[in-house]
Amino acid sequence: MNFPILSSLILLPSVGAFFLFFTRSNKQNNFTVKYVALFTSFVNFLLSIYLWILFDHTTSEFQFVEQRTWIDDFINYKVGVDGISILFILLTTFITPLCILSVNNSIKERLSEFLIAVLIMESFMIGVFCSLDLVIFYLFFEAGLIPMFLIIGIWGGARRVYSAFKFFLYTLLGSVLMLVAIITIYWLTGTTDVIELYSLGIEAKYQNLLWLAFFSSFAVKTPMWPVHTWLPDAHVEAPTAGSVLLAAILLKMAGYGFIRFSLGLFPIASEVFTPLIYTLSVIAIIFTSFIALMQEDIKKLIAYSSVAHMGYVTLGIFTIQQQGIEGSIIQMISHGLVSAALFLCVGVIYDRMHSRLIDTYGGIVSIIPKYSVLFMLFTLAALGLPGTSGFVGEFLILMGAFKDNFLVAVIASIGVIIGAAYMLWLYKRVIFGKLINNDLKKMIDLNRSESIILTSLAIPTLFFGFYPDPLINTIEVSISDLIETYNFRLASKI
């Protein structure tokens, strides 16, 4: 492959951002600014589709690998994709343009700066999902925090500073340990190249500590219980587009990291710590579902439900079953689509009424019918109704979990019941019922760009619900090889 397609994917959004850097945003050129950003990210999306078409899903080898020396004998800029990473890249490039399209109403000031942050973030995220060198991975992983920190801190709501710092501190604390672990790995093996590390393996006696160091970073980012409390605050204060990026893409870095590094590099430690992950995941699913039930703020409710959904993801990954891990990846993609859509849905009514409280609403189904239909669809996808992508992920995860541990699967399945309760109750209180608040009568239904955004999220949600084959085909071989290597390593104790 001569054309450096992955580097282009990483760089292109930054190039767009670079252009925006020189335009000052004011009322006159807001339009131009937005379309430059939109155009850049859309081209990037097309490029990633092209990547998906070229991608050969019959092998688990890394493809489109590019390598350049950065620091001699130490760090290489090395990128490449396999079945596991490619879907996340697609998710990133798919969500970003929608995000940019959605800023119309929510971002009133400093539009071009906001879009620069979004585009830079896209670059970093794609970098995370295709880096094949630990140091590069770490850089992208941490750098992703900065634009998000700014988005919350500058464009956020009333308590934005508190939330931004909480977000930053939480996620940074975990990551410091990961950096230490990466340095240790370099000492031990003399390389940070992921492919090489895969073939070398890491001595069993070091694995536990290293695993814990990586875990501390990933657990915060997932977020797993009990380090999840930054998420609701961050979501509540973030502007709509920020919430979307956070829920749809940022949270997926950790899940990806668990599969790529925790399972890939430290199989023995993963086996040791599986009970820990199971316990935390199950607690996350049950506890946060109950918490979600009692929320009065729509965004907080969805944020808590995200924690529960990510609980399924971590649970599925550590089942080390084909169904479990595949389910986790599909769940992540699905959650990316659905939670993005739900946050956008909240954004739609927030832009009109400037309230996120459930009490404000009620009885608006006949006032904004189009909105109600789409919101219903995403509600159903969030509660995992068969025929939506949410079902495929959840069901496969639980199936995999059941193979590994009855008790965990049984408890996790209870989450499905509570999930139905809080989502339907939310929907009922917002959309159905008698219209009491007279201000609501003035609400207008979805405008064109909102319809386009929500519909483009609805289509894949339904499509992959009925026909998840394109997703599963892409990851199948990579996952089965991963499991095979994992079990082989486990048996041979490296």
């Binding site: 009990p226 109950f290 918490i291 068969p386 496969l396 139905a420 009922k428 019922g433 199948e476």
Partner: protein, 637 residues
Amino acid sequence: MEISIIALPLIASIISGFFGKFIGDRNSEIITSLLVSISAILSALVLYEVIVNQYQDNIIIATWISSGSLNVNWSMKIDALSAVMLVVVTSVSALVHIYSIGYMSHDPHKPRFMAYLSLFTFAMLMLVTSDNFIQLFFGWEGVGLCSYFLIGFWFKKESANKAAIKAFVVNRVGDFGFALGIFLIFYLFGTVNYSEVFQQIPNITEKNLVFLGIEINAIDLICLLLFIGAMGKSAQILLHTWLPDAMEGPTPVSALIHAATMVTAGVFLVVRCSPIYEYSEFVLNIITVIGMSTAFFAATVALVQNDIKKIIAYSTCSQLGYMFFATGVGAYNVAMFHLFTHAFFKALLFLGSGSVIHAFKDEQNINNMGGVWKKLPYTYSLMIIGTLALTGFPLLSGFYSKDAIIEFAYLRGNTTGYYAAGIGIFTAFLTSIYSWRLIFKTFHGNYNNKEIKIEDTHESPIVMLIPLVLLSLGAIFAGFIFKDLFIGNYGLNNFWKDSIFFLKPLSTEHPPLWFLLLTPILVILSIPTAYYLFVKNKNLPEQIVKNNKPLYLFLLNKWYFDELYDALFVKPSKKFGLFLWKFFDLKIIDGFGPDGISAIIKKFSVKANKFQSGFIYQYAFVMLLGFSALLTFLIVK
């Protein structure tokens, strides 16, 4: 052709749901009714083929999920069992579609209503024609969803919204068991296709599992988990609470979903899985007990209810109980027979009650009715037919199916069987009493409605009566005509083939004559009894109520199940959620985590701040102090 049976309702639903606004109310109604009717005709043809030519097929439409060893297809399995269900679902659905044109004529959201009905039909057909457990689950949740939409159809009513959510969530509790059952099946057999699973069942009869600390036979466990799902969907005792509340939906919905089709899905599931259940005597006995308890419980509650639809809802609950205890005693074919006949007469009763409600302009309390049998002659006589069929009056359809259930329970020859037969007979008597109570209070006696004059009550339009007439034909003749096919010894071998599996062939003996005559005699005697109680001597029931107040309240409040669940599950859940949020997340995690740490750092830095006072003599003093401390340390050491 077979696929179009499923596809037509879906197409109808899409047309009416998305384009209803453009094509108009009337066109949506016509298109949906027409397409579903075509689907019904095709289904009848399929059933004919199955009966005459022993037609069987398993059509694969597309792949759905294939992950590792898991392989799930969108499929259509046609055999005797699914053919019967096809006919029940599509024919009742078509009639309900037509009836709705009249019933919903004043509603502003007709296309939406028709779209839901058609969508429901589609989901139900997916459920019955599946060849694997996961597509079954798809249909299972799909019908639940449509039920949710339709119960909450009048979205401004708070009670309707609540009932809708309750229905969905209670069903999810059942689905939780069902899903675990599917996981277990996949765990044990590595597949979820019926035929592959059923083949392997005999190999694992001895296998035991440790499940949540209890050692249990694998097949027993599968059966138990699947049955939990069936209990939810078919509103069996413990998970029945949603069904009476579901009557908040429009009446055609009650007839289609909450009487004829969806609620029978649980029975269908057990019958479909007869190759598994036959190996689990233990769970079959549980089913019998649950079935007869439900039959009895619901009948007692129905005795004292005043809402016309709730009475019929409890009656449905009770009849479903009969179907379950039929499967519990191994008479799957009889359960299917009762399901089949029940669909007709129960839909007839519901649609008839809808006609009554229509006549009284949305009045549902039977105490506010009475004396209108001359005003509503068609509705009256059709309701009588439905009631006769339900109570098992000789020669009508309910007689053949219900009495067969009681007989087979008796012939089972074990303790549960005898108990079931006894309770079955007693419940049949109760059924008869409450059914006739409904008829007499609604149509006979004095006119009790204060809001509408008797002159203003009116017979329903023809478009509502035609479906009633067709259903009444089914209620009268379905039993007699299909008796031999469904439950005759001759039919057993030829019709069901391998769609129903019997480990031991059913007994072909006959119970003693007195036993055969007992039920019909009770049923016939109950008519004058009910007439005496509810028309002639109205003081007597009131006297009984007065003397047995606690019992009456117990029944009126439906054995206090709702209150119990509220106290056991709903309130604690909310409290628990609040506790986890306000106390655990905010106080403990945040308090000791980020907020706590930042508070400590702040405190510390304030102290450290004070240290830097800027006065040189203070710094010098501290230096001196430190120097002397160091010196002392060195000297002492």
